[in-house]
Assembly symmetry: C2
């Protein structure tokens, strides 16, 4: 199953050096999930050929402008481009008020339904559960109410060993049962144990999205063992004080989060406008956690 993330924005606060503020799009089994939606996200989607019509779920971490000011434009364009199917939006409760107010004054009645789910910044909650994935909120520690999002792939089915099954003339109708782990009894009565005919699937993958947050152990347990951890790394560690004041994380701390939560890989983003080159940020995180990559706009990372 495809499970990957494409970065649409990697800047914090303001756009600069051709870096846009935060937005990223997950492709999970060919369904697109948009995570945060800064100003210019719809332009970035045009640039990187991401089709808005394929997005049915949008997740907004918090109400700082660099994480949601592109939402109105995107959902307006969806309307103008003829969308009819519902759109699910997950985000802080006041987001609905902000959207409704703007549509009221533009006198717009959408031709599609927005199904809005308010996130709770104080408690991890499952907010989406479909055949591919569950999504949980991650309560973070920012200046205003803020949640990350944890995307957990559903447990996958066992894989049939084709040659074995073909040699035994197992009826196709029994394949689903085999994938689910059932044994097979041949017409003559002989029993074949499931693990002779199938192999175990890989561990379900997991993507943890930790947008703006202070380095705070409160969320470590929940994100343990992520296949890919996206974590903000706004500053270098020599600006730790500034990071603490503004409830952000340094690159060194992001590496520590990955290390302590035993992430498989770390992807860092939300870079301060003060860093034109990102080499130092990357080196600093890598000094703690070697499997670190920079979130580069237009790049796609496998989860």
């Amino acid at each position: 199953m495809k499970f990957e993330v494409t970065i649409l924005g990697s800047s914090s606060a303001t756009p600069i050096y051709n870096r846009n503020p935060t937005a990223q799009v997950l492709n999970i089994n060919e369904h697109l999930y948009l995570v945060d939606c800064a100003e210019g996200t719809q332009q970035q989607m045009l640039r990187f050929d991401v089709k808005p019509s394929r997005i049915d779920h949008i997740f907004i971490s918090h109400l700082h402008g660099d994480h949601y000011l592109g939402l109105m434009g995107l959902i307006s364009s969806m309307h103008l481009n003829g969308r009819r199917k519902p759109l699910q939006i997950f985000g802080p409760a006041p987001l609905k008020e902000i959207v409704d107010l703007q549509f009221k004054f533009s006198e717009t009645t959408l031709r599609y339904e927005i199904v809005f789910t308010a996130t709770n910044p104080n408690e991890a909650q499952i907010i989406l559960d479909n055949p591919d994935v569950t999504v949980e909120t991650i309560p973070l520690d920012h200046r205003i109410a803020c949640t990350g999002f944890l995307f957990k792939e559903k447990k996958r089915l066992r894989k049939i060993i084709k040659e074995k099954v073909a040699g035994l003339d197992v009826p196709v109708s029994h394949y689903t049962l085999l994938k689910k782990g059932f044994d097979y009894e041949a017409p003559g009565g002989k029993l074949y144990r499931n693990d002779e005919l199938t192999t175990a699937p890989g561990e379900p993958k997991c993507y943890a999205y930790c947008s703006d947050t202070l380095y705070n152990q409160q969320y470590f347990k929940q994100i343990e063992g992520a296949s890919l951890l996206y974590h903000e790394a706004t500053f270098l560690h020599n600006l730790l004080e500034r990071a603490n004041e503004t409830h952000h994380t340094t690159a060194l701390q992001a590496g520590e989060v990955a290390l302590k939560t035993r992430a498989h890989r770390l992807l860092i983003g939300h870079f301060s406008a003060r860093y034109k080159s990102l080499n130092e940020i990357l080196d600093e995180a890598k000094s703690v956690f070697p499997h670190t990559e920079l979130a580069i706009e237009g790049n796609t990372y496998e989860v």
Copy 2:
């Protein structure tokens, strides 16, 4: 005196073909005035090297997203980049409510003052008057309350004929009076008429900005004789019905507005996403009014 306009966005409704929705910046005597501010305007300003810190006045024509959704991002960035001087914003009354609501939920207290002036969509009013320019609203006919803006250069001073004045030893302290049209009496008592020592200034220039509107004679008188008329030309004339439905103008009609109001030159923009190439739009307007140009992003047009 410098009086020119740089196009930051020329698309209607949605961004497409690397065209952004509406925004433009006027440079009048080295002061910048931003007119409309679609999503992505701050990114366009970075791209075309327009400094937000030089903008003290922003004019919003109406509350369709393609004309104002970049405002929150821009004024937030001004705050983050240390702005202290006040910013004047002119626009429909509910704009203040929209801005205030978003700052409330982002828990932002700006370090500079926004001085907000509500425009009246029913009556032409002078909303700004400074030594360089007066700005009037132009009541337009759109689906929701919408005003254009008329920028009228102040009557300019007469120009001193340097050689004449130097030959007569006119004291420098008298130059201002000469520029204002006063005669000069030399120490011996001889009177020099002002028109011997100065030349008349050019006619004050005038920029008329007519964003979204139905072709409607109601605003023709007010914009008469504009040095440069910016007029929307969303559709080709074969889509007149669609233009009427949506309260927009065709390229042919934009040419007619320029012709009937005796504009010196016409600049057309706000192009529908259905037109990848703009040649036909330009040709159609030119067939009625030859002095027509396309509003091209990044280009600067002298008023």
